[in-house]
Structures are given as C-alpha cells and as structure tokens.
Subunit: 323 residues, 2 copies
C-alpha cells in the first residue's frame, strides 16, 4: 500500500469534541446547543460520537447535563453513541440514558494515573473491571482509553511493553470491544506510532483499535498517517480542534476533525464524512464557546475554495499584454 | 526505505523566516536584530538562509535594509546565504552585498503571476533569464522559486505538466542550480507532493530541489514526509512559523522550522540543526514583531520537556497506597 494514496480505503472518524473538547471549556454550552451539535455530527457521517461524560457535575460542570444530552439527541442508524464514565455510578447513568458504548479511562503512566485519577494503575484497573462487568450485564459495549501511551508529561517515555501489557489485560481480563491508544499531551511521533500500531494490530487483530492524537507539537496528521500505515483505521478527532492541553497553555488540543477529514479525502481515503456539513457545524463553535477555534480549515477554507481576482486584474492583464 | 524512520538520512533545512516571514510583518525589525537573528540561525546549523529580499523599499518597507543586513551578518562556513531578487537592479545590489545565491520568483499560474508580478509568465521568464545571466557572469548561483506549483488560489489546480515544463525551462534554458517548488497558499496534499517530487527527481537528479510548504491547511509536516518519500531532501521553513497567508487572514503561513526539525529529529532524520538554539532564537520573535507566533514547539516545549508533579502529589500517592 502507498500511504499517500488511500485508494478508497475506509477510515472511521470518531468525534470527541462534545466530550474532550467541551469539558475543557469554561463556558457552559446550552443543552439544546450540545444536542444540535451532536445531531449535526451524526448527519455529517461520523462513525462514532463521544457524546458526553457521566462525571460529577462538581468536577466538570460543563458536562453536568450529560443525561439530558444523551437522551435528547436523534439517533442516526449506524452511528455509535459513546459516553465516558469514570465509575459505577457514571456507568449506571450512561446505560440508563441509552449509551451504545461506555468509554473507560486509565493511564499507562503510574504518575499520570495518580495525578489525574488519584488511584494507582492497579486500583484503576480493578475499578474498570467492575464497571465493565456492569456494561456486559447490560449488553453495552466497552472501550478502554489508555492515556499517555506515547509518553507521560511527568515521567517521559512510557515503555512499549507497559502499554502492551495493559492492553493485554483489557482484552483478556476485561473483554473490552475496543481500545483507544491516547496521546494525551501530544508526545507521539510517527516512527513510534507506526511501530506500536503494528504490534497492537498483529497481536489483537479483532479488537477495535482507535488512535487518539493531540496536535500539541504539530504532528497530528503525520501520526494519523503513520498509524494507518501500521494498520489502524479509526481515529478520534475534535470538531474545530477544540480541547486544549492543560500542560501547555495556548497549545492546540485534539487533532481537528475537519482538518483530518479534509486531508484524508484529498488523499483518496473514504471517511464517509461530508466535509461541508462538518465545516458548517464547526463554524457554530466560536459563538457557543466564546472564543476562536484552532481549525485551519475554517480559517483558510478547503483546498479548492477559490478566491476572486483582484479588482484591477483586467487592467493589469491588458497592460502586461500591451508590452 | 521506511518513511517513518529516517535512519540518519540527512535533510537540509533552509530558513526563509527572515525574508518570507518578516516581509509580511507590519513592524520594522531593527537591522541589528535582523543580523542577530540570521547569525543565530547560522549558529543553529541551518543549511541555507534566505537573508532578505532586494526589492523596492516602497513595496516592502520591512526589508528596506537588505544591503546592511546582508553585509552585516557573520558568515558561517558551509551555510549558503541567499537573497530574493525581483529584477536586474535587485540582482546587482544582492551580488554587490555578497549574496551566495540569488532566488528568483515566478508563478506556475498565469493568473497568479499577473496578479502578483504584473507580468505574463513568459514576460517573467524573460526577466528571470536576464537576471540569471547577470548572476552567472558574477559567479553567483541561481535558484528559481516557482509559486503555485500545487495549486493557485484563483485558478485552482495547476496541471503537473505545466509545472514540469517550467522546470524544464529553468534547468535547460536558464541553467538554474536549484528549483524550489512552492506551495504558496497551502494547497499541496501528500499524494500530490509525493508524485510531483518523484517525477522531478527522476527527470533532474542533479538539480538542487527544495520544497516550500505552508501549513495553511494543517498538512505541512505530512507534505514534508511525502516529499522525502518522493526523493526530496531540502525544505524551506520559517522560524516560529511566521509569515501569514494573504488569502486567509489568521491562517498560519510557512511550516515552522522548529516544528519540522523537532519532528524529523524524533524520526531519526539528521537535520544538522541544534533544536535548542533554534527554539531560543524563535523565542525572541514575539518581542521583535510585536505579536505571538504560531510555533507549537515554543508553546508546548519539546516532546521530553517534562512537567513537575502536582504540589499535592505525595499526599495523593500515600492516600492511594493506603487504600
């Protein structure tokens, strides 16, 4: 396969902006606006949408309306509606509200897991197992997002073997349908991504593998392509590129959905996503969150969104030709 | 070759920020600051630096000190000091001030050439030939930058055959040492880049080929990698990512030197550039140009620039372990 030419290969695009993006915002986006956003993303053709998170409203007030949002959206057949849940209570709420999939989170880095989740990794793993049991009983699929798989902002490199050992536990002990390898703070680089992806795919060909990149150091798209080269076909991305990095104020967050779709479609990959609808949805974001968005496609337009001639072009042309 | 693993392959990094970047700024950067910037870039290990442009001070006042800058810099052996020249007068000034190389510009798009240079392409080609003759007599190398090789913001796609025909004329009739394929407004995409680069390299293996990308639509690094895969080993980039896009206010301009070097070095390519020195130089830019710079590396730091533990980390850890 030539990685620069998709030749129609299908790539599943998964939206995380309504969860990973909005949770980082100080503005509370009205429930009806969140619902409209999810509906627009469904209509645009996203394969999966992480609609919200069932977390404590005290910890993340921006997503305190998780129940209402998940119950309020229009379900488009074929789209998987996922919700992040941190614990049993969250799982019960998410299942009751109709989540198709629960997304559970822990970190590949002990330090990051402690700092972020206030548990050791093995405590987190036990908690995840319990939550996964509840999902299994309810017939709801489980995905596990493993943070810091490409590096920890406090520890540095995380050994590949550590990442693969945790994945082994998720597939073997927990029976997760899917695993997301998360580049939580933008430390992944293409060489590393291609190798880890290939090892994962060879070892667990039947597990749904998602790659979750942040564009913090400008390597987002290159990492997506390296992952595709390693056998991946599912990517998280965030509308407008919203979702910052707590470790780097001002840095961009998740890779931008419309940028990735724009690039992949130009290269002949089939994302199943209507780019125009996506851009329309993204353009609504600044008014909702109260600030500009990183999206380069919203700023610059699509590659072939052409510009008019200068007003004096005909005069210039005639002057040139009369020389 | 595995594109994700450079395996020590050498990539020549060429700085254009002091010309392509500064010419777009409204602030006039003091001559001594420009000189210090070029000297810092020399010391960092850039292979070539487009120091300035010998253009009319009325048209580009930001570079009105071209003579003083080019005469004032310290020459580091091995670094090529290039200058953009639009005409015979500019060429004479640049040669007199000691330019190692003249960079001449025309566009692959008739519309863009007329709008930008107020000449037909064939008029531009005649003018370029005359300037190249002066350079040849003076024993100074000539590079020709062909704008809009990957698309024109007014015409749209530019046929590959058109681009290759102009390159043929540059190599055959003008005898240019080098050609730069410029993605003037960020329309290039990796599939296109890999193909065009390979065709160029196969046809003119002895001509110095540079790729000049803008990150306007987020494809800068991916395009660099696609070009390497097609056989390229020279790239223009701009310190801090300065240099906007006149067709897309707010959009980023040239690919950012420190982002490209950071990525390529992580992937095992040898750029010969000291990243720390580059970042130090880039950090001076906001004070010089009066605004923030796009550089994600200045914002977020290098991949392994680690962050400290939270202040209450030890308490968290002990609490977790006591459970």
């Amino acid at each position: 396969m030539n990685i620069w030419n998709g030749a129609g290969r299908h790539i599943h695009m998964q939206e995380v902006g309504t969860r990973d993006g909005l949770q980082a915002e100080t503005a509370f986006v009205a429930t009806e606006d969140k619902i409209a956003l999810v509906n627009a993303l469904s209509q645009a053709g996203m394969a999966k949408i992480e609609v919200t998170a069932f977390v404590s409203p005290k910890v993340i007030p921006a997503l305190s309306d998780a129940d209402a949002v998940l119950r309020g959206i229009e379900r488009r057949p074929g789209v998987v509606y996922s919700a992040l849940v941190p614990n049993v209570r969250g799982a019960e709420r998410a299942i009751e509200a109709g989540a198709d999939e629960l997304n559970l989170v822990m970190s590949a880095s002990e330090t990051h897991n402690l700092a972020n989740l206030r548990m050791t990794r093995s405590q987190s793993f036990s908690a995840l197992s319990e939550v996964a049991g509840i999902a299994r009983e309810a017939g709801v699929a489980t995905n596990i997002s493993l943070s810091c798989t490409f590096g920890c902002p406090m520890e540095g490199d995380v050994p590949e073997a550590t990442v693969l050992d945790w994945c082994d536990a998720f597939v073997g002990s927990i029976g997760a349908r899917g695993i997301t390898l998360c580049d939580t703070t933008g430390m992944a680089y293409p060489g590393q991504v291609a190798l880890l992806t290939r090892k994962f795919r060879e070892r667990w060909p039947d597990t749904e593998l998602t790659l979750h990149f942040h564009n913090t150091r400008g390597m987002g798209l290159a990492n997506v392509l390296a992952a595709i080269d390693g056998g991946a076909d599912r990517f998280d991305a965030s509308l407008g590129g919203i979702g910052g990095c707590p470790y780097a104020p001002g840095a961009t967050g998740n890779v931008c959905t419309e940028e990735i779709v724009h690039s992949l479609e130009l290269m002949g990959y089939d994302t199943g996503v209507d780019l125009g609808s996506l851009i329309d949805a993204s353009k609504r974001l600044p008014a909702l969150i109260g600030h500009d968005i990183p999206s380069q496609i919203v700023k610059a337009g699509r590659r072939l969104d052409l510009h008019g001639l200068p007003g004096d072009f005909e005069a210039i042309r005639q002057r040139a030709h009369s020389r």
